[in-house]
Symmetry: C2
Subunit: 409 residues, 2 copies
């Protein structure tokens, strides 16, 4: 064997890991072998290879790495002094307050997004979609910060960046050019915001959004807070464009509060179109706002998944980088109590979110990227309500947290 | 000085404690001196007394001991293997499932209530109202277990016990005799349950409940899940009896979902009567069910407070002995975001709950019982969303937890 061969073998071994004695969500006891950042095998009593490190799971529950489907890393005060919220109740109050804060506070979107992304990672999130403010005040400053964070964590956290016109698209001239630039600079998805109630012209706003997305061959993820009938109207216009432009499977509607407050027949007609056009819904499951009906969406074949929205920013004091907490809040929001139903809420921050966002190679299966979380819990439902410290977090085959503490990243 | 005098001095000193350098919720830096289980003084730079132990608060936030206004210690699986919930969706499904489980499982209400009560205490709850099942299957078995728990923790946890006819009052003959016996055996409050929808005869059920309560000179805390108009009807009958029998200030209506789903005029008329008769409302703030409007209740002078309901039992997988989490869930349920509003949610599990349940000598003031919690948080709102480990918990002047770990109880 040449020295090159020895070195390659050593590298292969150091890139390998065996996690022994864990339980799958169905209760089966297995080992998991990892090589080259991927799951090589899952099964009982896998062979030990000399030179490959072993982690002893001691019967802990094995979960796939969590997926945060909708957050705003760039805005967070995570780790800073508490932001005292004295903001008015309207959406426009919050946008205005934030724009003022953004200009005056000297907020560092790079440092803050990195702090929060690390917290997500240490708690088991290995894939994450973040909306990043792009407007005529901030320009691409927030985007640059979040791109730097993505680069810093590129070996362990799979991050999708949505270029998000937080101040609206039509109202502030030049925003479209900035979105254009953001997509050229590395944003993966085009964001949008309330085409009727913020932009004031749903047809023009949606047309502009779809035009930019198509030019860049990028998917769309739109914040649609618009309630009831006006939200339904906007959603219908959006679905028309998905069909006309062939963007099936490339659009997410975030929030979609309107679907929580429509007459059943109207709601069901929209759900049928959403399923047909493979337009997915993101819910943060806020308890004080109407929300799309989770189990009905699943039954009708509508892709639905979960996220935090902001975490401790000028909008909200809430949110947590622990996606088990978000899954619990989703389950509570929909009145779920049975174990099988709580498992659906977990799917919203794992399998369903990965599928809707297009995160590839996901799951507890050979060939998938080795993104794994071990917790001391009897079942998935137990993990949601207890949210125990993460015994081990593996991201892309690398150990990034152990016994609740970050390791190396 | 005689040896008796020395011993009395030593006892007084050992019963005293100075907590130095903490922050009140309004930000003021103070010390707190404790003697004989009570707060002796709160103020800046209190004098150090030789022989009196000092705890260094290091600027931590000082909160009053938390108050759990409604739980079911006797039913919990806390600390046991996970209970797999496969229960049907109706209230009667849950009652039947639990009755079967209670008969078949060999559940030890004494051991379980002690485990959960200790968890509450270690997380800062020093006053607690628990409903205890009394029915013709269980007899007084659950009550005896919870009475033993109360006795075990009597020096540190102030526990009110509600004798609760979980299987209904009228449907199972002999239940009234058992409630009678429970109140004689040490229960503090008479419970009741859905006079129309469970008992099937709201007038007879309420009359029986009030008759038993009056005979024992005990207050009432009724579970009223009845929705909308039927709940409003029952609530009206209940208020008639409060007025007729002079039980102002002695009745709590738990849940009161009906007040979340009535036309405003009808709701407001009931709120006015509730305020006038000093009948309090308990809410667990479930996100999937209509709930009494928190801020409107407060504005109208209706006493409203918070609790978990069950914690990990056959009814629900949710619930936590951390009342900061319950306060956060209450704040989220009502869409509260401003710091001042989150402080109201904290009041629901502290000041408001103590007042509504009649826990005396409560609060951060000289003369009050020394029930204190120290957490590393900037503000009350921060404490709710971060729910940090308890740096120190003092119950009736005794240290019962330090750095998140129980001490001595």
């Amino acid at each position: 064997m040449t020295s090159t061969g020895t070195s390659a073998l050593a590298e292969r071994l150091s890139d390998s890991l065996l996690i022994a004695n864990v339980r799958l969500p169905d209760g089966t006891r297995v080992d998991v072998s990892i090589s080259g950042g991927r799951i090589a095998a899952i099964g009982a009593d896998l062979p030990r290879t000399p030179g490959v490190a072993i982690e002893h799971g001691m019967g802990a529950l094995l979960l796939p790495g969590f997926v945060e489907g909708h957050t705003h890393l760039d805005k967070t005060h995570w780790g800073l002094d508490w932001y005292r919220n004295e903001v008015g109740p309207k959406l426009t109050d919050r946008i205005e307050n934030e724009r003022h804060w953004r200009a005056a506070s000297g907020h560092d979107a790079g440092k803050q997004s990195l702090a929060l992304a690390r917290a997500f990672l240490q708690l088991g999130t290995t894939r994450l979609r973040t909306h990043v403010d792009v407007d005529t005040d901030a320009g691409l400053r927030h985007l640059e910060g979040v791109l730097a964070t993505r680069e810093t964590l590129r070996d362990v956290l799979d991050m999708q960046i949505v270029a998000f016109p937080q101040s609206g698209l039509l109202g502030r001239p030049g925003t479209d050019m900035l979105l254009d630039a953001a997509l050229s600079a590395g944003a993966d998805v085009l964001g949008a915001l309330d085409p009727a109630l913020i932009d004031g012209d749903p047809v023009a706003s949606l047309d502009r959004t779809f035009e930019i997305a198509q030019r860049h061959h990028k998917p769309i993820d739109i914040h649609l807070h618009e309630p009831g009938e006006v939200g339904a109207f906007t959603l219908g216009l959006l679905l028309d464009r998905v069909a006309a432009l062939g963007m099936q499977g490339q659009v997410v509607v975030s929030h979609a509060f309107c679907l929580g407050a429509l007459p059943e027949r109207e709601r069901d007609a929209l759900l049928a179109r959403l399923a047909d056009l493979r337009v997915a819904l993101l819910t943060t499951a806020p308890p004080a706002t109407p929300v799309p009906p989770l189990k009905i969406c699943i039954e009708r074949g509508v892709s639905i998944f979960g996220g935090n929205d902001g975490v401790r920013d000028t909008w909200t004091p809430y949110g947590s980088p622990d996606m088990l907490e978000r899954a619990m809040l989703i389950a509570m929001r929909f009145g779920l109590r049975r174990d099988d139903d709580l498992a659906l809420a977990f799917d919203c921050v794992s399998t369903y979110a990965a599928r809707a966002c297009g995160f590839d190679d996901y799951g507890l299966r050979p060939g998938a990227r080795a993104d794994l979380v071990l917790v001391d819990a009897d079942t998935v439902a137990h993990a949601l309500v207890a949210r125990p410290p993460r015994r081990l977090v593996v991201a892309h085959g690398k150990i990034v947290a152990r016994d609740g503490q970050g390791v190396g990243y």
